[in-house]
Amino acid sequence: MTATADTLRATTPPGPGGRPGGRAVTVRVGPVSARFRWRSVVVPVVALAVVVLLAAVGLGRGDYPIGTVDVLRTLVGAGTDAHRFVVLELRAPRTLVGVLVGLALGTAGALFQTFARNPLASPDVLGITQGASVGAVAAIVLGGGGSAGALLDGLGVPLAALLGALVWGALLFVLAWRSGLDGFRLVLVGIALWTTGTALTDWLLTRAEIYDAAAAYVWITGSLNARTWDQATQLAVALAVLLPLALAAGRVLGVLQFGDDTARGLGVRLARAQAAVVVVAVLLVAAAVAAAGPIAFVALVVPQIAVRLTGGSRPPLLASGLLGAALVTAADLLTRTVLPEALPVGILTAAVGAPYLLWLLVRGRRTPA
């Protein structure tokens, strides 16, 4: 942020933005102006530092251990050839996919929860990840046999998952739309779709060969094993488009939170704004799930953690994304170091995220959605 001393200043209470978000900073450069809370700047910066550190530690772990300092040196282009090969070719895709998936899921969760004014509104609960599971499990189980199988085989598991997520997302949108989107209705329709997806997945699993079923089960849990640069690049491209759109939606989200009449009274084109928010969120989830499977709890828990860390009245988008990245990276690191190698990362995100949320709920008295 380029700001000179007189354009960057802190407002002290009782000016706008005192408690409970910390002091506010106003930035004005020419015609551009914006206002932040200190904590909504500090939390993402710290989260980013944590992500880099965890990723560096993670990149050093494996059959050929490399020190964290050497990893960082390699990342900025100063490492040995051997280090470069191990870090950049073998391990970086996995780590990068983890970071990007966390970023996408955290941001999508914040979009959904703010929009629906409901902390339960996450892609896990709204059935989008179950849609992806249906696609992926169908590809794994039916792949190879019959014409449908051949088609699914041709798609491959990630594309089938992407397709499943998009189909379920579209169903959610169409079924919940009634000349506008109501958050409560969105959650109810989502829960129905979630159940449908789970039933379909279970049905496919009962038909599956045992080897396929095991593979499908690992996918359903969400795993970062054996990611490639191709997957990392595709996900990075998707996020390069979607994240700016999500952040651009942030301004209107603050008003959408008020309820339909107030939002429209403030000049928001309601149907268009709602559609934009939900479509961006569904696409973020679809991209993330296609890359790593439905890593549980990130989109549900992280925005709630983020809003408690930053203060304010709604889950912050950037902080939610970066904390999501930190959670997934940390979970991945733990599964590969402390815990048995084969454990999928999704188990740990749930195991770490859920108790932390409980602790926050017990400790805090407010429950912002």
């Binding site: 009782p14 706008p16 409970p20 102006s33 009449d261 928001v268 203060g311």
Partner: protein, 290 residues
């Protein structure tokens, strides 16, 4: 409470004030159920109008249509002579502000942030917090006497304080017109007066054109210059409180036998109910949507 507004005379409007907001042959319906039919209304610049009527008469529905929240089934609403449905909603939001009945603020939102959101129609992607925004919000907080509560979460305020906060936000929106849907609901009498005094000051001191839906006829008569009485979706009477609040009209519109005496404080009509009259027409108990 014998303060400012009580002395405010029911002044005659200056010669031919412009019509700011008008309804033309308006028909409003929820799905197939027609709530308002064939309604014409013109609200002039600087006027203070209260819409009154029994539950379910369509007064809140009318207000929603005037605020472009409800698309008319037939007829149209004109804002400054231009169809409100064809005017970009953001442009409307810079001229017309509205306060829904019992609006909900997200948990944890501070009063200052609530009021700041009133600037939304004046802001853009690049310009999210201009000096003007800051000045207007600070002024709105001070003017509504909310500056001391600026950093308190809205959901921790009392009902009366909360309504002040919302009015402060409407003030920060800087619109010439302000529509309020039963702003005194759930408030005790002294807070009802407090809120209506604030609205009256918005009208008198800030020159706002005010339309308010009110249940309390005596308060409506006290504060508004003009009453619009509705029954079953039809505009029955419109005029000064003295013209509208007659014993005959109370019987016709509210099925109420009542005496109308001069308000000993303001001189406006004061309704003293006697008893409820037998229901007139079978659909006077139609379900309310307010």
């Amino acid at each position: 409470m014998t303060t400012s507004t009580s002395e405010a005379p029911v002044h005659e409007p200056p010669p031919a004030p412009a019509v700011r907001l008008a309804a033309e042959d308006l028909r409003l319906a929820y799905d197939d159920r027609v709530v308002v039919d064939g309604l014409d209304l013109a609200l002039t610049d600087g006027s203070f109008t209260a819409i009154v009527g029994p539950n379910g008469c369509g007064k809140s529905t009318l207000l929603r249509a005037l605020g472009r929240l409800l698309r008319p089934a037939a007829g149209r609403v004109l804002l400054d002579g231009r169809s409100i449905a064809r005017t970009p909603t953001r442009e409307v939001a810079r001229v017309l502000g509205l306060l829904p009945q019992t609006p909900v603020a997200p948990a944890g939102l501070t009063v200052a942030d609530l009021v700041a959101r009133g600037r939304h129609p004046h802001q853009s992607w690049l310009q999210q917090w201009s000096r003007e925004d800051e000045a207007v919000v600070a002024e709105a907080l001070a003017w509504t006497d909310m500056a001391d509560l600026a950093d308190r979460p809205v959901d921790e305020l009392s009902g009366g304080q909360r309504q002040r906060a919302w009015i402060s936000m409407a003030l920060a929106q800087e619109t010439d017109l302000l529509l309020l849907d039963e702003p005194t609901t759930y408030l005790d009498l002294s807070h009802q007066i407090d809120v209506l005094e604030l609205v009256a000051r918005l009208h008198a001191e800030r020159g706002r054109t005010v339309v308010v839906v009110l249940h309390d006829l005596n308060l409506a008569a006290r504060y508004a210059q003009r009453l619009v009485a509705m029954r079953d979706g039809v505009l029955v009477a419109s005029g000064t409180p003295h013209e509208v609040l007659t014993e005959r009209l109370l019987a016709e519109v509210f099925d109420l036998e009542a005496r109308v005496v001069p308000d000993p404080v303001a001189g406006t009509p004061l309704v003293v109910p006697v008893r409820r009259l037998p229901r007139r027409g079978q659909d006077s108990e139609r379900p309310s949507r307010q």
